[in-house]
Amino acid sequence: MHHVTVKGVRVDDTFAEAFGMRATAVIITADTMQWAHQAAVTMTGFGTSVIGCGCEAGIDRELDPKETPDGRPGLRVLLFAVSTSELQKQLLGRVGQCVLTSPGSACYAGLTGEERLKLGSALRYFGDGWQVSKRVAGRHYWRVPVMDGEFVCEAATGLTKQAVGGGNLLIMGRSARATLVAAEAAVKAIHCVPDAIMPFPGGIARSGSKVGSKYKTVKASTNDAYCPTLRGAVNTALDPDVASVLEIVIDGLTPDAVGQAMRAGIAAIIKLGPSRGAMRIGAGNYGGSLGPHHFHLKALLP
């Protein structure tokens, strides 16, 4: 693999191949940031990959009380899916089971746009006829009576068809510990980029996959070319000094958000350097023929 070396870190001359997705955003608030966070974490749980979870979900950022409609602490959560109907289904299921149920929570639109997804206008039926519609400042809310008071939920939220899923970085190091340190630094940097999420646990995936399998029923299987324990047995993509690989997958509301997030991640890994972190950065692709968005690592160097 051709590469350039920046401050001792090898950056592969390759690209991340990403796909168009449908995405939406909601703002979750609560009486304290702890409970807003709890609701958001619960809602985005089991939302790592569309392959098995129906959607990819994550926390975009924490919101200051001044930024939320009700003046309470909150977070913005992003959801990505492959179709509008699946996104709608996942949104209602997750807000209905994880946010509506969380103490003191409220849920608002986190995205504007002409195309809308149902939110409170569908969840209101939980109120069994006692729900109240309220329009305030041009926005439509539903107030659903619940056991700790009321669940306030905006009637609808925005949908974008410009979203991109599958931006990624492959972080390679000489030990599992050093690779994890580099991946954590990248995750921390990417968290500062708006409109992008990293849907895997803590933003990091250790089980990167390839399409297909030797087994007919399995749609995706382990990326053997990047498994260090198979180095001698398969057509490996790893150098002899690489002992561990971690992947950061990035979904963004726009191609630019994904590019900015990858740029921030690469910069953080390079800043950490090969002695404390990763010695090589790569990216996953399918040869460029499947996904319309190609994020070349060389173009994203700091």
């Binding site: 608030t29 409609p69 009700d70 003046g71 309470r72 409220a106 006692w130 109240v132 519609s133 309220k134 329009r135 305030v136 400042a137 809310y141 107030r143 008071g149 009321e150 306030v152």
Partner: protein, 270 residues
């Protein structure tokens, strides 16, 4: 650009219909054409130039000076622009307006904001009966927009209101929010007897209670709700004084149980 200024020459002998003098109907007209606009009175027609001295200006900003309570239908059906009135006006100010801003630097008669669908009607002193209410035969009153009254309002404010917000910084008369279908009516000080009389849905907020609730409203306890926070942040943009009554836990009364019973009155917990 300077506003178009109309100064009343003298108190008219009859009631005067000012509905033609709204920005979207004045747009593109010359000074001479505006002076020739016919205004209906209870006794015939007069021309604008006969009753007003006019100084031409931007027709999107109309200023009426020396107004009196015989000027009816000020800002009727206005869709955009700005009308400012110095003095009192008569009935139906801002009736059917759907946009823009109408400021009355004085008091208004009955049916101000009647059937209003959008925009902002700002009344610096007091308003008469049936603020925002429907005329006889109409099914609904106010359908959108915001009305602010810095003084008191008469009886049946928000009658048959369907959407929108009325903010009263002073007192309200009897039956505030009567027959409300939806929407929000906020009274910072005390309201007269039987607020929310036959209301079906909607929200009434009473800062200092009322002269007596209907027995068909039921006490639902004291709550600090997210919905009142949303309302507070909206009302604050129009009246910080009125918004202050939402900044505390409030008692919720549900009613009117004589009809649908899905309305509510928020009032002081005491």
């Amino acid at each position: 650009m300077k506003p178009l200024i109309l100064t009343l020459r003298a108190r008219p002998d009859h009631r005067l219909d000012l509905s033609p003098l709204v920005p979207h109907l004045l747009a593109g007209k010359t000074s001479a054409a505006i002076e020739k606009i016919a205004l209906q009175t209870t006794h015939g027609c007069v021309a604008v130039g006969d009753v007003f001295r006019m100084r031409m200006g931007d027709t999107q900003q109309v200023r009426i000076e020396g107004a009196c309570d015989r000027l009816d239908l000020v800002g009727h059906g206005m869709t955009d622009g700005d009308i400012a009135v110095e003095g009192d006006v008569g009935s139906q100010a801002g009736r059917l307006m759907s946009g823009g801003r109408l400021t009355i630097n004085g008091s208004v008669g009955p049916f101000a904001g009647s059937g209003m669908a959008g925009g902002h009607l700002d009344i610096i002193r007091s308003a008469g009966d049936r603020l925002g209410g429907p005329l006889a035969g109409e099914m609904a009153g106010m359908r959108g927009g915001v009305v602010t009254v810095r003084g008191d309002v008469g009886d049946r404010a928000g009658d048959r209101m369907r959407r929108g917000t009325i903010i009263v910084e002073g007192k309200a008369g009897r039956h505030a929010g009567s027959r409300m279908i939806a929407g929000t009516l906020l009274v910072r000080r005390v309201a007269g007897a039987l607020p929310g009389y036959l209301m079906r849905r909607g929200t009434l907020v009473l800062g200092e209670g009322c002269d007596g609730f209907s027995p068909t409203f039921v006490d639902c306890g004291v709550h600090d709700l997210v919905a009142t926070r949303l309302l507070e942040s909206f009302v604050k943009a129009y009246s910080a004084r009125a918004a202050s009554i939402l900044r505390r836990p409030l008692r919720r009364l549900a009613g009117d149980m004589a009809v649908l019973g899905k309305g509510e009155i928020f009032c002081s917990p005491d």
